[in-house]
Symmetry: D2
């Protein structure tokens, strides 16, 4: 089977598994993050982001979203995001839960992106007791459509947010793929464009289960620590999470893995772009492709052992592919070869 | 000043104030609802709704919404409502709070109403762990646009809801005005059309502060009692709330008051409908009018002592009038007389 | 029937009912507290407390407790109170609900009071991520045992609290009876003794349903306003609540009513104190008496039409009497007369 | 350094690390638990417990507690546990958070155990709207004092619970050490003694981060799945958690590891029991020892590289040792040798 269903079906990158094994050999000073791996994450992330950041390791993408979101949003607050954002549609009310009942306000927009204008139009009610109080904007980068906000688009959104006193969160479950896709620096895509806090994903890009919350301004992290405990996300053997992140940040592993995944996606897109029976629903800018193809091809690919999402029973010609750090070029080429039969 | 800003700026109807005074003369057996007024609300409501109902008196519209909503929606659930619904825009996340973090899913639709089709299109994710679980539909009748769902529209919506296993709540803050406007029976507009629970408003229609939650199927009300206490809505001198509701239900006071308010709204609509400088943004079907009028008229009316909402600083020719149980015909006619100058 | 079961079974004091009727005659400028009664509460309370205070009217004792408590306690916080405190045993988890899950830490102590020492011993875990963070102390004055903390006891408790960075809340559902009982000024019993916020009860002492939250330091009340809305405690016809409180604060009505209730309790205590078959479980310091009496006397009193709480089926000789602003001296004397038969 | 501070400072048992590596070699069908390891956990646990159970893998002890607790306790409910229980003192209000505000009622009792009688005395308020509704009892086995409830003690407690309609949860973070310590079967210590749901710990006994929730009666696990997602505990690469648990349940690894840890604790206890300068604060029944020793010995042991908890700065002669699956006999014997100097 060749699994293009999601980048979260993959295993663990060898560099990360090595780090886990090494962490097991050493004896941590103490549990709950009082260890060398955890201690040094701040420093490593600060180097990558060219700024003195505060970081928090957690083990799931949802945890990496809801901890900073609940830190920045009061229970009577409102959170703006794209209507297809993971926090809005795929985390079963986790943001509402952790904030104590804040409201998510979904914004629409093509290719998984909302605009600064639609954000601006959606903000209202500030200071009026009966209205939810605008508190946070969450940008998903890479979007659920596999597209990317440009630096300019991000800056426009964060400017609107900051003008209204809102903070800006970036859901970067596929942050590395975005940096790779835009060809910019991590600093440029975040704090230099006005992002206040980032959920920096690792799991989809080679970790076993590890994500890093990155605050670009110094915050009183003690509140976050309490929130992490009460969420059940304070692991005793935290060093195994930190060891994963440590290896992920070392030697640009995060970026190399993402570059490979993106290159594989691009290869499929380029190979198929002249195929008249195939079209792309969204621009291919990172490691995800939404492809409309003949139903027969869908069946042939499945029969050949390819696994991928069929987006809807109502629309059986629309599929999603996600390429990964360990997708193999021969599988990619075999995929396109089968597709040629339908050109 | 003549206040057409909202029906909640009015005072208390004389019949209801009399009931409050009488409740003060008697000595209640005990506090917390163990009194004659509270005891008999079930029976009075059952007569009006032609069905054996379970009722709960509370003191605010928000409480009347969130208690049944939180009873019927798990914290991982989803609630469907019109995007302009009071529960979505004017209760500062009360539904999210009382449910423990359920998600409100806003549906669009003209004149403050969503359709059965848009509801049907919006329901998804049943049984999938990462998706909010569809749990409840909330219909606002009278809508925030002052319009009414027809019996047929209600039935179509409730059919979709029940097919998907969702319960149906009706936010009837202006329930009486709806019954008056449609000219149907309370039973027809609720359980006979598939509504499971109603927030039956009294405050806007002559009470001091009293609303009645009405369940059309027998429920285990003990859970609701605990939820009422923890919300801070269990009043020791509950009999003064129940006395208001008792007078409100007696002798069709609720319907008579609503008929008057609606008649006053209709009178304005009819008087102004031939006026070419004035238009109505939504059909006038109950006691609320959204009127577009020359800016000069807005100023003249304010100068003449009329109070009403200007809907937006961006759109200074759009105003909202709400007529009440005690709006006076001479004020209504004076209003239209001033408007004639602009015809 | 003569009802000594609780001070919350009584009706409304005539001065307060008059204020309600007057509020109905006037036309409030607008709803939701934009009215003269609400406007002037701050000023009236500031005069009584000899300090520029911030006030919030609400309609229930639970609301008056949980709004300031949730304002001052994070969801990962801990609240210290006596194990018999109303917030711990009689509000069905309202404090846990409104705070988003803070923990109540019950302290024991005789006669319904905990000491500064027991508080000091109970505070721990500050700064440790896995421990609830000490945030608030709540003193019930008058206690559930009908006793009073002396000024000295309050000051000792608030000193411990402030030394540890905790705020101090006073649940004053029977605040007036406490001021009357101690013979001190409202200022002395609150901010001069270190109390940060007070729930100043009116319902048990002659109001229909009204309590006043009083902050002794200027706070940003906007957050409280949002919290009041999402709790469903923002009433459209708020002026009827404010009118009650206005009358309550005027001309020392609050104190006169409390003085009467206390005097009636003292009269019973003095009349019965030499009766060898009767004993008082707690000192009688306000308007509540816990009396141990022969079971025959319990039955005789019930037969004579007296209503009061029997505290436990396991202990049928223990009863609680609560005297009220409108308890009549002849009923009190009739009570003691019946008791003489058992001396 | 020899670390006896806690069993959660240890690394990963070799059998479990092997399973993780094997899980990485295979290609899971899909993410989010749709894999062979997760599928077979139910079967493996059912064999161990001699009953058809429903299981849920999670990654932290707190998650393993709060998911079943929030499934079984309504927001207006009460949870009874020992005052020193982990859920009460070490999870920063996680149970209050996940239940939406339920109340934990702490019971006292020597050696970390409460009795059936103290539970019985603590249950009250059933059916009364203003009281928290008794919903759940949580037994910590092994207790925080390192002691064990006997089968008889458990049965007495669960009988009281069930008589009052409460469910029984067992916090088995050190469940394996309890089974080893009592020498009974897992079935005997759980459902045969009336336990409804177990948090079966693995992390402290050799896993990297894995715990198993075990329901002894068939439950509708769909609600739990939604609760797991909204808590952020639904991992995409769940198979690495399940692989750990799989290895843990295979070939009695859980029991062998626990037997070793207990044996090491017993060895210390036996070696030191005749030492007159040393006393044990609680019976040593599993893998934890609370030892009172001369302050000089505390210092000598630290100087010799032993790490352990000093329980309180106020009481510098009280220390806690926790022995682990990989504690070495030579370290244990070296520990006791140093202690001999003080005999």
């Amino acid at each position: 089977m060749t699994n293009f269903a999601s980048d979260n079906v993959t295993g663990v990158a060898p560099e990360i598994m090595d780090a886990i094994l090494r962490a097991n050999d050493e004896h941590a000073a103490m549990s709950y993050g009082a260890d060398n791996w955890t201690d040094r994450l701040n420093e490593k992330a600060s180097a990558i982001f060219e700024k003195d950041v505060s970081v928090f390791p957690v083990i799931s993408g949802t945890a990496a979203n809801v901890l900073p979101i609940s830190f920045l949003t009061p229970p009577y607050g409102a959170i703006y995001c794209h209507e297809t954002a993971h926090i809005n549609t795929d985390e079963c009310n986790a943001s509402e839960f952790y904030t104590g009942g804040a409201k998510l306000i979904p914004l629409s927009g093509v290719h998984g992106k909302f605009t600064a204008d639609s954000l601006s139009a959606g903000i209202f009610g500030k200071g009026v007791p009966r209205h939810s109080q605008p508190a946070l904007v969450s940008i998903t980068q890479t979007t659920e459509a596999g597209t990317l906000y440009s630096l300019n688009e991000i800056s426009e959104i964060t400017a609107v947010a900051h003008n209204h006193g809102l903070k800006v969160h970036m859901d970067g479950a596929r942050f590395a793929n975005s940096v790779a896709g835009l060809g910019v620096s991590p600093a440029e895509m975040t704090w230099k464009s006005g992002v206040d806090v980032l959920s920096f994903g690792a799991t989809k890009n080679g970790a076993m289960g590890a994500e890093l919350v990155v605050f670009f301004n110094k915050v009183d992290t003690r509140e976050l620590e309490h929130r992490r405990v009460r969420g059940g996300h304070f692991l005793s053997k935290m060093r195994f999470v930190s060891a994963q992140l440590s290896a992920y940040l070392d030697n640009d592993l995060w970026l190399r893995n993402a570059n490979h995944a993106n290159a594989m996606a691009t290869r499929i897109a380029e190979n198929l772009q002249k195929n008249p029976s195939i079209s792309f629903v969204h621009p291919v800018e990172a490691n995800i492709l939404f492809i409309r193809m003949p139903r027969g091809l869908v069946c042939d690919l499945k029969a050949a052992g390819f696994e991928f999402y069929e987006m809807s029973t109502d629309d059986p010609t629309l599929v999603r592919l996600v390429l990964s750090f360990n997708s193999r070029i021969e599988d990619v080429d075999n995929f396109t070869k089968i597709a040629q039969k339908y050109s």
